[in-house]
Each structure stands twice: as structure tokens, then as C-alpha cells.
């Protein structure tokens, strides 16, 4: 049983971490993020150049077919220096869904892998909580064309999307029936689609969609898309959970260094036992979180049910540990930790958002318990 990355994966992680430090230094991060897509464009193009956008894309769709450990290495690298952008939405989640659309969608997948187009999956609806099976958006067939009507209240990293993948109801009994859900593809500028865009505290840009008789293209198995959506989200979460671990370890390293160098009362504050113990608890949290990544990797070989259960467990424990480490990093830095000038508070804000991305801790605890 292997508990560490291969040499190639470790090198990828280090490259991605270095890339983050170069393109998004703490002092520049906010300015670049505020500029929106244009501020992140150079980094996005560079990532495409390096082939990273192709890594998660299945081989038969022209990608590199990266496995879970490859994706985790990459995600962890993102977390080290908090690379922003719609990587998970556009390069992991969207291609995993679009791959069910056959060769007709390969050109679009190729554009995602080249970084020239961005796509996002619009999975959550009002009154749905984080339940992926709650789909009230309706798909209506007239002749041979589909139209969609409904609301998607939160599209993770959908703020810059050129295309939206939209699950809608083509059958089933009621809005919470796991059966009767189908996948559709809609261009962001389609008439009848209203896109409201929002910035989160971590600089990621999300969207809210209102669809009124929007022409859409159906793809994938009609009426039975839920399992595909769940599998794609789980794959996306592997990257995000690894990002959380990368961020936790980075910010705990920074905090450890601060404890060694910051002096108060004539000595380094790291000499105070209470702060030593806190630092130890932060490290334990990092180790637990990493263990949950390993747990996912092990479970991924044991079938979809075991894998989904491991993802739910990891969302709970990594979410808790990540927020704890972020909070304590700010606390131990004191006032400067609360400032925006150090990367420390950026890590906490990212952890807070990662903890609710694709399902809160409460949501996944309930999934695990079910």
C-alpha cells in the first residue's frame, strides 16, 4: 500500500506550488483576482501551455487521463499558494460529465483542455440544499429541440463560464426523484438565460442562473444522469480536498516560522507552551486531513459506494481540520494575521469556502450517516 506520491506526482506538486508563488504572490493576489478573468488569463494560458488543463481529461476525449493521485498532487500544489480560477469546474468536473456525450462533444472538451473555453456545471437549486438529486428545472421537448426552465442558485466557479452543463428533469415522480434527471449543454449567451455573477471571499467567481425556455442540447443517458453527476462531483472533490490539505500545510508552515521569529516579552512566542501545543494541534489536523486523502485513494479501488462514502467522510474531516488550521493560523499571528497583507488570512478564507464547496460538513455528515 502506497501512502505517498510517485516521483512524477511529487514533481508536479512542487511545480504547481512554485507556479502559484510566481503568478499569485500575496501582495498581488487581490489585485489580480479583482481584475476578473483578465487578471488570471496569463496564468491560465501558462497552465494550458504546461498541459495541466489536459491532465484530468479522459484519454479517449484527447486528454491525459490523470488518475486520482495525479489530480490530488495537482490540487495540493494549487493549495500551497492558493492559485485561483475555475480549474476544478472547467477541467475536472465539466469534462467528466461531457465525456458521456460521445465524440460530438470532443471538440468542446479539447477547448477546455486548451484553456480557450471555460465550462461549469450548474448543479444546485433553490430548496435543494446541497442535494444533487433535487432537480426542479424542467426540460421540455418540442419537435426535436429541448428547452429548459428553472433556477440554479449556485454554480461553483461559474462566473467566467462560456458553457453551462445543466441537469434538468425529463422524468421521475417529483423534484427529488433520483430517476428522471438528464444532462444538457447551454451556451452562456443563449437567449432566455440570465447569468448573475458573484465573487466569494476567496476570490473565486460563481454564478446564479435563471432559465426561461432556454434552448439546450441534450447529452448522455436520458433520465439516469444522477450517478454520473455524483461520480463527476466526487472526482472534482478529490482535487478540492487535496487543495485544502496543501493550503493547511502551507499556512501551518508559515505559522511555525512566525512562532520561531516573532518576539514578545523578550523571547520568541514559540517558546510559550500554550502556543506550542496549539501548533501541535494544527499539525495533527494536517496529518488527519492527509490521512483522509489516503482513505479516499484506498476506497477508490473498492467500488463506487465505498468511494462516495470516503468522499463524504473526507469532506467532513478535512473541512473541519482546514477551517481549524486556518483560524488558528490567523489567531497565532494576531493582528497581522487578520490583515490582508499576509497570505495567512487568504488561506482561512479559502478553507471556509472549500468547506462548503459541493456540500457543507453537515451535508456530507448526513450523507455518510445515511
Amino acid at each position: 500500500m502506497q501512502f505517498s506520491y510517485s516521483d512524477e506526482q511529487a514533481m508536479l506538486l512542487e511545480s504547481v506550488a512554485r507556479f502559484g508563488a510566481q503568478h499569485f504572490p500575496p501582495g498581488e493576489r487581490h489585485r489580480l483576482i479583482r481584475e476578473g478573468r483578465s487578471g488570471e488569463e496569463a496564468a491560465w494560458a501558462a497552465m494550458a501551455e504546461l498541459g495541466w488543463l489536459l491532465l484530468p481529461i479522459p484519454e479517449d476525449a484527447g486528454g491525459l487521463g490523470g488518475g486520482i493521485a495525479d489530480l490530488m498532487a495537482l490540487g495540493e500544489g494549487f493549495g500551497r499558494n492558493l492559485v485561483p480560477g475555475p480549474y476544478v469546474a472547467s477541467c475536472v468536473l465539466a469534462p467528466a460529465l461531457l465525456a458521456h456525450g460521445g465524440e460530438a462533444l470532443h471538440p468542446l472538451i479539447a477547448e477546455l483542455g486548451a484553456g480557450t473555453t471555460i465550462a461549469a456545471a450548474a448543479l444546485l437549486e433553490p430548496d435543494a440544499g446541497y442535494d444533487l438529486h433535487h432537480i426542479a428545472t424542467t426540460a421540455t421537448l418540442a419537435g426535436d429541440s429541448w428547452t429548459l426552465t428553472g433556477t440554479k442558485c449556485h454554480v461553483e466557479d461559474g462566473g467566467d463560464a462560456d458553457w453551462f452543463i445543466i441537469p434538468a428533469r425529463t422524468g421521475g415522480t417529483g423534484v427529488r426523484d433520483p430517476e428522471g434527471i438528464s444532462l444538457f449543454l447551454v451556451a452562456a449567451d443563449t437567449p432566455g438565460l440570465a447569468v448573475e455573477r458573484f465573487r466569494a471571499i476567496d476570490g473565486h467567481r460563481h454564478a446564479r442562473l435563471t432559465l426561461e425556455k432556454v434552448a439546450a442540447r441534450a447529452f448522455g443517458p436520458q433520465g439516469s444522469a444522477l450517478a454520473l453527476i455524483e461520480a463527476a462531483v466526487a472526482r472534482a472533490l478529490c482535487v478540492q480536498l487535496a487543495e485544502a490539505v496543501g493550503s493547511m500545510e502551507a499556512v501551518s508552515d508559515i505559522t511555525l516560522e512566525y512562532l520561531r521569529t516573532r518576539e514578545q516579552f523578550g523571547r520568541p512566542i514559540g517558546s510559550f507552551q500554550v502556543l506550542q501545543h496549539r501548533m501541535v494541534d494544527m499539525r495533527i489536523a494536517c496529518e488527519e486531513a492527509r490521512a483522509m486523502l489516503c482513505h479516499i485513494a484506498i476506497a477508490s479501488t473498492e467500488g463506487e459506494t465505498a468511494f462516495q462514502r470516503a468522499i463524504a467522510a473526507a469532506k467532513v474531516r478535512i473541512g473541519e481540520c482546514g477551517v481549524y488550521v486556518g483560524q488558528q493560523a490567523v489567531q497565532l499571528h494576531g493582528g497581522v494575521g487578520f490583515s490582508d497583507e499576509l497570505i495567512v488570512s487568504h488561506h482561512l478564507k479559502r478553507q471556509m469556502m472549500l468547506a462548503i464547496a459541493h456540500g457543507s460538513i453537515d451535508h456530507h455528515r448526513a450523507r455518510f450517516a445515511a
Binding site: 458573484f198 493582528g335 464547496a357
Partner: protein, 395 residues
């Protein structure tokens, strides 16, 4: 122990309730419930309205312009203010420097500054923290050198909250070098318009400008700006810090506002047609939170009763500060959680994009709450104070 209000207290409560029945704009509500400060203009208007009623300085003795309320009356006042979604008063003038001035200040200082604090004519900010003097305040390096009828101030201050709007600053500075670091520090009242003062904003994680760095370059202040005696500023400063912890006793009463915000958000939000507030898991969490708030508020009530009876509450102030910061963090986190996936919608990218109800303030409150366990003596320092002063455990 008396558990019931006497008729005079009940009459007072009704009077306060009437006062708060009007004049509190509903647009303040979400920010107030999130524990966020209103804008200086709004707080000034609120303070002036209280002052006009004679209630500008609830904790001050009558001889300095306070209403002369008993601690129980103060508690009633805060409870009613909280119930009406009124804000906590801005404390730096009212609770930090005001009491120092009426305790140690000269007759001229009292006559000039105290009414102006009550009427919100002046806005005070603190000038004690420095980049290398945070928890270890006694290591401060700003100097005040006597030059004829003036002190000349040089140094750098940190976390000068509202320094960008303040008219005055109370500054701790070193006036002599003594063997003991706590000696030789003096407290000075400085007009922010004095030449040589530079304010630089510090961006914080809640994306709200409230704090600053302050640079003092040959700032000449008259010797009449000295509070009390030269070299005794540490003593006065310590009284001030103790008082700062007691300020949270009043703010703790306002946690009921956060409970209301959580309950309303959880009532609005449904999952599969069931309101979040009706889900057992969420109900249990909110109940737990309310129970912890009850414990804290009853601790506050005990402090007030002790103060009434002239009894020293010992470390209860530190305990309240500690628990209040934890509960303000837990409450805003629960609130943000109740908003669901849309808690990620903090700011619109395009004009016209409608934010979810309660945003951005609920999230801003959750972020701001992180500093409540850092400012005014961090939670770690509060633990030390309790361990050393109350339990006699020495470091």
C-alpha cells in the same frame, strides 16, 4: 440574590423600550446583528440621539454627565437596545478614554473633553499598540520628549482603529527610560490635526476599512495634553485595558441579535420543502448556541450585580471577553451556514446581480469575528490574566 426587577426597574425598562421603539432604521439591522460597526456618521447620529435624551454615557457617574444608572439599569438599557436591533455605542471615547479622563484628568481636561465625548463632537481612537508591542504592550517604543511647553512625539502605532475618522487619539509614549519597562510611560491626549501625524489604512480580511497604522513624526503636543502624572501612563493604561474587557460585558448582551438573525435565516431557507429551522440537527445546534449565550449573559448579570454591591468581580471580565469572542465567532458561523451554498456570494461582479438576503454582512461579520479573539487582549492573554491574577499560577 434578587431575581426580580423592582417596580422602579420595570418602569425604567418601559421607558427605554418606548425610546427604542422608534429611531432605529431597519437598514442597520443586518450589520448590527452581524456584530459589525455601523458607519461613523450613523454611530455619531445614534450617539447624539442618546445624548439628547441624557443617556449618552450609560456607565458614567452623574457628575460627569452620565445618567447615574445602577448596573441593573445599565443591563436593562443594553437588553432593550439589543431587542430593538440598536447598535452598541462606539466605545473608544465613551468607555476607554472617557473614564480615564474623569478619573485622572485635570479639571480643564474634564470640562473640555467629557461633554464632547457624550455628544459625539469628538471621535477618539487608541494609540497604544505598536508593531512590536502587541500582547507585550510594555515594550512600546514611541517617545515623547519634553521641549519647553510641549512634548515632541516620535514613533509608530499599529491597529489605530478608526484613526482615519478620529478627531483625537490617546497615545501611550515613553517619557523616560527606567529599569522597569512599565515605568516611564505617559498618556497623552493628541489632536489628530496636529502636524506630523500620518495615517495609512491597513486592509483586513473582512474587506472593511476600520483600522490603520499611525506614524508620529515630530508631533508637538502641549504639556497640557498629559493625563495625570508623567511616567504613570502604564497604570492608567492598565485601568483602560481592564475597562476594555468590561466593555465586552455590554456587547455580550447584544448576542441575542445574532440569535435572531440565525433563526430568521434558518426559517427562510428550506431544503426539500422543510425549513432549516425545523430540521432536528440545526435546531439542536441553535439550541446549544442559545444555551451558551444564556450562560454568558447571566455571567454579565452577575458582574453587574457585583458592581452594584461594590464587589470586585475578579477575573470575570476576562472570562466574559473570552467567551464573548468565542460566541460571536460561533454565532456568525452558524448564521453563514444557514445561508447554504449562496454563502459563497459575497459581492456582485456585475451591477444588478442581487446578493442573497443577509449578504454581505453575515459573512463580513463572520470574518470580523476572527479579530475579536485578538484585539483588546487576545484570548491567550486573557487566559494568562485569569491564571495569574485569579488562580495565582505564575509563569
Amino acid at each position: 440574590m434578587h431575581f426580580t426587577l423592582d417596580p422602579a426597574d420595570i418602569a425604567f425598562r418601559d421607558e427605554v423600550r418606548d425610546f427604542f421603539a422608534t429611531g432605529i432604521p431597519t437598514e442597520w439591522r443586518t450589520r448590527v446583528r452581524a456584530g459589525l460597526r455601523l458607519n461613523p456618521e450613523e454611530l455619531t447620529a445614534y450617539q447624539k440621539r442618546l445624548a439628547a435624551k441624557g443617556w449618552g454615557a450609560p456607565t458614567w457617574p452623574a457628575e460627569y454627565g452620565g445618567p447615574g444608572w445602577s448596573p441593573i439599569q445599565q443591563y436593562i438599557f443594553w437588553s432593550e437596545a439589543a431587542a430593538a436591533d440598536a447598535p452598541a455605542q462606539f466605545h473608544q471615547g465613551l468607555e476607554l478614554i472617557g473614564p480615564i479622563i474623569f478619573t485622572y484628568g485635570s479639571p480643564e481636561q474634564k470640562a473640555h473633553y467629557l461633554p464632547r465625548i457624550i455628544n459625539a463632537d469628538d471621535w477618539w481612537c487608541q494609540g497604544y499598540s505598536e508593531p512590536n508591542a502587541g500582547s507585550d504592550l510594555a515594550s512600546l517604543r514611541t517617545r515623547a520628549v519634553r521641549d519647553g511647553d510641549h512634548y515632541v512625539l516620535n514613533g509608530q502605532k499599529a491597529w489605530t482603529s478608526y484613526g482615519h475618522v478620529a478627531s483625537h487619539c490617546f497615545v501611550l509614549a515613553r517619557t523616560s527610560d527606567e529599569a522597569k519597562r512599565q515605568q516611564g510611560i505617559s498618556l497623552l491626549l493628541v489632536d489628530m490635526k496636529t502636524p506630523g501625524i500620518t495615517i495609512r489604512p491597513v486592509a483586513t480580511m473582512d474587506e472593511k476599512h476600520h483600522t490603520n497604522e499611525m506614524f508620529l513624526d515630530d508631533v508637538r503636543v502641549p504639556v497640557t495634553a498629559l493625563v495625570g502624572e508623567e511616567g504613570r501612563g502604564w497604570e492608567y493604561g492598565k485601568v483602560l485595558l481592564d475597562r476594555e474587557r468590561m466593555v465586552t460585558a455590554s456587547v455580550a448582551v447584544f448576542l441575542t441579535q445574532t440569535i435572531r438573525a440565525i433563526r430568521e435565516a434558518a426559517t427562510r431557507r428550506t431544503i426539500g420543502g422543510v425549513a432549516l429551522i425545523d430540521k432536528p440537527g440545526f435546531r439542536a445546534k441553535l439550541a446549544q448556541y442559545e444555551i451558551e449565550v444564556i450562560a454568558l449573559q447571566t455571567m454579565v448579570l452577575r458582574v453587574m450585580a457585583d458592581a452594584s454591591a461594590g464587589v470586585d468581580s475578579g477575573p470575570l471580565g476576562s472570562m466574559i471577553k473570552l467567551r464573548w469572542s468565542q460566541l460571536s465567532q460561533a454565532g456568525t458561523a452558524l448564521w453563514v451556514g444557514a445561508l447554504g451554498p449562496e454563502a459563497a456570494h459575497f459581492a456582485p461582479v456585475d451591477q444588478g446581480a442581487g446578493l442573497p438576503e443577509d449578504m454581505p454582512y453575515a459573512m463580513q461579520g463572520a470574518l470580523y469575528a476572527r479579530v475579536t479573539s485578538i484585539y483588546g487582549g487576545s484570548s491567550e492573554i486573557q487566559h494568562n490574566i485569569i491564571a495569574q491574577r485569579a488562580l495565582g499560577l505564575k509563569g
